[in-house]
Structures are given as C-alpha cells and as structure tokens.
C-alpha cells in the first residue's frame, strides 16, 4: 500500500506561496464532513501584504500590451485544461457534485478564461469612442483599468465563480486581491498554482483563503484599493458604507451571474475608468 504525499494549501501573494503571517490555519472538510486539509487562515496583515503586492504589480500589468495580456489569459486556460482532473476531483469532493457535474464546471471555468482572453484587445473598439465635439478638436475617450481591485469570491462556487470574479478584473490591466470561499477554498488555491505557471506576473492575482467576515472590512477599507467586488459577503451594506469613505467603485453582490462559461462586458467596464483627451486641429 502506497502512502499519498498530501498537498499543503498556502496563500498566493506576489507570485509566491506563503503561509499566513499569523501562522493560523483552519480545517476544510468535504461534503461528507471528512477532513480534507488544513488551509492557511489569512489575517489582516496578509491583506496588507497582498494589497502592497497588487499595487506594485499594477503599472507593469497595465502597460503590457493588450495582445500580451490576452496571450497570458489564454495560457491560463491552456494550463487549467492540462490539469483538469485535479480540479474535477477537488470540486466533487468538496461540494458533493458528481464527476460529470464537476467536469462541466471545470469546462465552464476554462471557457470563461478563453472568453476573457479575447476581450483584452477589443474593449476600446466597443466601449471607447472618438467624440464629434462641436469645435476644431480631436476628442477621444478610452477605457483605463482602475487599479487595484479587492474582491470577495462567491461562497457557494468552488471554481467557476472564483474565475468569473478574478478574470473580469485583470483582463483590462487591474490587479486583484481576492478572498476565496471559506468552505470551498481548495480549487481557488490550486488555481494559484496554475496562475504561477502561466506567465502571469507575480502580484497580478493574490489569493487569500479564510473567513470573509474577518478579512472583508480590512480589504474594503484599505485606502490603496480602488474598487471592490462584494459578491461573496453576507455584510454587503456595511461594506458599501465603508467603501464610500474613499469613494471606491462598488460591485454589489448579485449584480452578475458567476457560474457561466462566459462573463459580462459590463462587469469588465465597472472596473475601468473612461479618460477623454482633447487636442486642437489646425495648421
């Protein structure tokens, strides 16, 4: 009989896999309440470190060409496809879904990466504009990423909901700090390994497993976060009030469905800013 070498699940910050600085962990159980793993329990200091990493990575990611970002997101899909079995088994084990259902969820997650990858170099063609102002001026509106996004992934989705939370943020050049589902955190943490092998620069996505109730006010209140996605919280109104202190852009819980094989253009645009530039024309 051969003994398995079991995986230690750690956080994903700045492209590396640290344990929580608090040294704490919590138990993740499967759908039959059997112990699966002890997972890092992130603290407010991990939130602080993750936001720092996200901010440091943001200018580089935003200034990569849209073509390059699209290639990276497509690579994530390639890597995920290559490791689908592991995800299928984690999802089935934690949620009690059948293998077939779990398989469908992994396919949706992969296809959603592909859908997002195709948007990087099209956003401005669809949502930008040359504006015909009444004067001898060149006037153009483009969409720029807002910066650092703090996101609370849905509690009830092991993988596809998580993907549909981080992909819309990073497609345009934002970086993200995301708190995973508390009970279903394993596939999200394993996805960190996929991200780390996909040419995604460190710090673009930072993954914190733990209690949303403990972490969300720190993340949402952090003054160096530009936008927040409140999908996975039970405390949405409080958090929206906190966000207002620094006029953060807010995506309220329930705004966008998260279980499909594609995302939503409006979700992407919610995390961008329109910039309009004028220049006279004349010789």
């Amino acid at each position: 009989m051969r003994l398995d070498v079991k995986k230690t699940y750690k956080l994903f910050i700045a492209g590396k896999f640290p344990r929580s600085e608090s040294g704490r962990s919590y138990q993740v159980k499967d759908s039959k309440s059997k112990h699966v793993a002890n997972v890092a329990l992130a603290s407010r200091k991990d939130v602080r470190d993750a936001v720092q990493a996200a901010r440091a990575a943001q200018p580089g990611w935003a200034s990569a060409s849209a073509y390059n970002r699209g290639q990276v997101l497509y690579r994530i899909a390639e890597m995920l496809e290559g490791r689908r079995e592991q995800f299928v088994s984690e999802i089935a084990s934690l949620t009690g879904k059948t293998a077939k259902q779990a398989d469908a969820e992994v396919s949706a997650a992969i296809d959603s990466w592909v859908w997002h990858a195709g948007w990087t170099d099209k956003i401005d063609s669809v949502a930008g504009s040359m504006n015909p102002v009444a004067g001898p001026y060149f006037n153009i509106s483009t969409n720029q990423p807002t910066g650092v996004v703090g996101a609370l992934a849905p509690q009830d989705s092991a993988l596809v909901g998580f993907v549909n939370t981080i992909a819309p943020a990073i497609v345009s050049g934002n970086t993200v700090v995301v708190v995973t589902s508390e009970k279903l955190s394993l596939p999200a943490l394993t996805l960190g390994e996929v991200l780390a092998t996909s040419d995604l620069p460190g710090g673009v996505v930072n993954i914190l497993s733990g209690k949303e109730s403990e972490l969300s006010s720190w993340l949402v209140g952090h003054m160096d976060v530009n936008a927040v996605d409140l999908e996975g919280t039970s405390n949405a109104t409080e958090l929206e009030i906190t966000a207002a202190d620094t006029v953060k852009r807010v995506i309220r819980a329930g705004t966008y469905p998260r279980t499909g094989a594609k995302g939503n253009l409006q979700h992407i645009l919610d995390l961008m800013e329109v910039k309009t530039v004028w220049h006279p024309k004349g010789h």
Partner: protein, 475 residues
Amino acid sequence: MFDYAPAPEAKLASFEKSYGHFIAGKFTKPANLYPTINPATEEVLAEISHGTAKDVDLAVKSARAAYEKVWSKLSGAERGKYLYRIARIMQERARELAVAETLNNGKPIKETRDFDVPTAVSWFFYYAGWADKLDHAGLGPNPQALGVAAQVVPWNFPLMMLSWKIAPALSAGNTVVLKPSETTPLTALLFAEICQQAELPEGVVNIVTGFGDTGAALVGHKDVNKVAFTGSTEVGKIIAKQVAGSNKKVTLELGGKAANIVFDDAPIDQAVEGVVNGIFFNQGHVCCAGSRLLVQESIHDEFIKKLKRRMSTLRLGDPMDKNTDVGAINSADQLAKIKKLVKKGVSEGGELWQPECKIPRNGFWFAPAIVDNVSPANTVAREEIFGPVLSVITFRTPAEAVTKANNTEYGLSAGIWTEKGAKMLKLADQLNAGVIWSNTFNQFDPTSPFGGFKESGYGREGGRQGLLSYLKAGK
C-alpha cells in the same frame, strides 16, 4: 572592416515535390502542374497544381457543405477555440513558416521572422476572440455569417494576407475558398497542413492554387456569397464588374501611391528612417508604400543628403541571410515593370540615384532608388511602381502638401512627419486616405482597421470594422 560575415538562417522548411489543392480537409492528387521558384536564385522549389474551373467547383461545394452541416452549427466559442489552436500551431511552426515564405517570396528572413509571421499569428489570435462576441460587432444582436467566402490574395505578403482574409471570415462563421498568388503558393499549402493539425472540420478552409483564370473562376462561381480580393487596381476593377448584379458582397484592397509628407519641424532622423521604411520595406512591394516623398522645400537638400546616407547602409542580397535588408524582386515580370517605369521617370526629367549594391548573379534584383526632382505631372508621381523606388516632390505650405498628396486616384495611406500635434491632426482630417501614419509608417495591428479610399479599394481589414464585411444583421 566590420562587415558582419555571412549569417545564414538554417533551412528549416522542406517542401513536397508536388502539391495538389486542399479541399474538404485533404490534399487532392497533383495535376496540371507548374513550377514555383525562389526568386533570389531561380531554383524550383516545388510543382504546384493549376486549378481548373472543376477544381474550384469542388472546393466551393466542400465549403458550402461544411458551412451548412458543421460550421454554422457550432457556437462562436467553439469556432474561436479552433482559431486559437491555429494561432498556437502557427506560433509553434513560426520559424519554419518564415523560412518557407522567404524562399518562395524573396523577402528577407529578418522580415518574415520579425514581421510577416508574427503579424499573421496575431491576426488569428485577435479574431479568435471575436467569434463569441459578435453581438458587439456593431450590427446588433446575433448577426449572421454570409456563407461561403471566395478569397484571392497577392504575392507580396502571402501568409499574412491569408491570415487577414481567413481569420475574420471564420470568426464570423463563414467558410472559405482561398486562392494564393501563382508565384507564392507554398505558405498557403503549409497553412493547410496546420488546419489539419488543428483538427479544423473538413471543408471550412479550402485552398485552390493557380493563376488568374483560377481566381476568376472562383470569384465568378455562383454559389459564393462573398468575394474578398487584395491585389492590383486593374484586376480589382475586373472583379467588381464580374460580381455586378449578383448578391455577392465584395471588398477590395488595391493599389496605392501614398504620400509621405515631411515638414521642416519633423523629427528629422526618425523621418529619414520612416521614409526608408515606407518605400524600401518589402522591396517596395507594398500597396500602402510611401512611394512619394513630399518634402518641405526648405529642408529638401538636407533631407535628401541624410536619406542617401541612410540608403547606403541598406544591405541587399541573399534573403536567407539574417542581415539582409533588401531582398529579391518577386518575379521577372515585376522587375521588368519597375525598370520600365524608372526609365520613364528619368526620361521625364527625374534624377535617379541608387546606392552601390552588389547584385547577385541569379535571381531578380533592383537596388533601392530615389528619383528626385519629380513633378506631380510626371509618370513616377502618379503610377504605382510596386518596387523600391521613391519619387521626390517638394511643397511649401501645409495646404500645398494636402493638395499634392490628394492629387491621385488612389487613397490607401499617407504619412505625416511633424512634431506639431494640431497640424498633424488637421492634416489627418484633410488627407483622403484610409490609413494615416504620423511620425511612423507601415504599422499594422489586428486591432487597427486597414483599407483605402477611392481606387485603392473599399472595405476594411482589422479591428471591429474588419468583421462587418463578413456579417449581416440578424433577424
């Protein structure tokens, strides 16, 4: 002293002895063969089938069947994934494709490696991402494909032109029959292999090789819904007449005689580079080449001096050498045309200057040339030469530059060199060309629509606009 020494690229491409057409996912038996050569050495690379009307008919039938039974039934997301696969395989085989293109076309390996192939790949990546987003193309929700597209591409950027045609067509849900130019069929045939490797459903892409008559049969076939042509204005007009009265949608990307306008407040060294790039890149075999230099009179002498000095560092020679800048002229025919026009230009008063180049014994070669002192009334100011020949004309004011630049039946591109933003933007408004490059030239990107005004054609390739000619509004 420091002459770089020969730096040959490895011969990474190999060809079959002969090729048939690519129809319904398979290669047909080679028949009706003619040789395709390397224009730098005149050696035969392979034998190619000269497509007959019957071959064309088979290809269109296969495209139609694939459209009805398979391609129109796939979701956009699935179509997109096929295109992503094709893009990836092209990336994997990029060096091989670059070598094949250089051998068959005569252009330098530096260009095929760094420009032709990467650009072709990027077009597939870009349009792969549109396939499941057609609701945003600008025609309202759920737009429909047209059906079967007949596509004819030229010899100057064979693989790249193929990608400009096939990627948007497939993304929008059409199936295609493509005819490459008779002198440069090889990368299209390698592309057919790539379609097989990508497991593209049979008949979605069909390649029929041959000459002008093959193309005419394809364009004229009654079961084709859309015609896309890139090539000479002369043939473009024939095609437009051929499809008149039919239901076929048509787009044409034809010739040009672009003005590259250099003002006295231009960033001069970069302008010299841009002018050189504009006309000598790809041996001037570029529809949007900056073949007319419109230089402000006050800086004419200084500019021409710098231009000549820069041209003296152009390296003409073996296209497979990594340091070659100027490769071979694509065919004996084209070389004869260029020589004839340059002779005319000189006879009309132009001053010809060419740097000293060592011309290889075999193959078709023309050293980069300036014809200075050209007037707007001269032949070389008006007629497209499609070779490495720059006609130099002067102007005094912005308004005069605009008049001279627009004084042509063509309207594909134009270049504006000035550091003054307001002047540049106003000129961009006034120049009648589909692509305006300011302080740069010959920039291409799959996100950026490309196409001409007037007799340079109609329709755009690239960008969201590039999809429109392959779609119609949904019900």
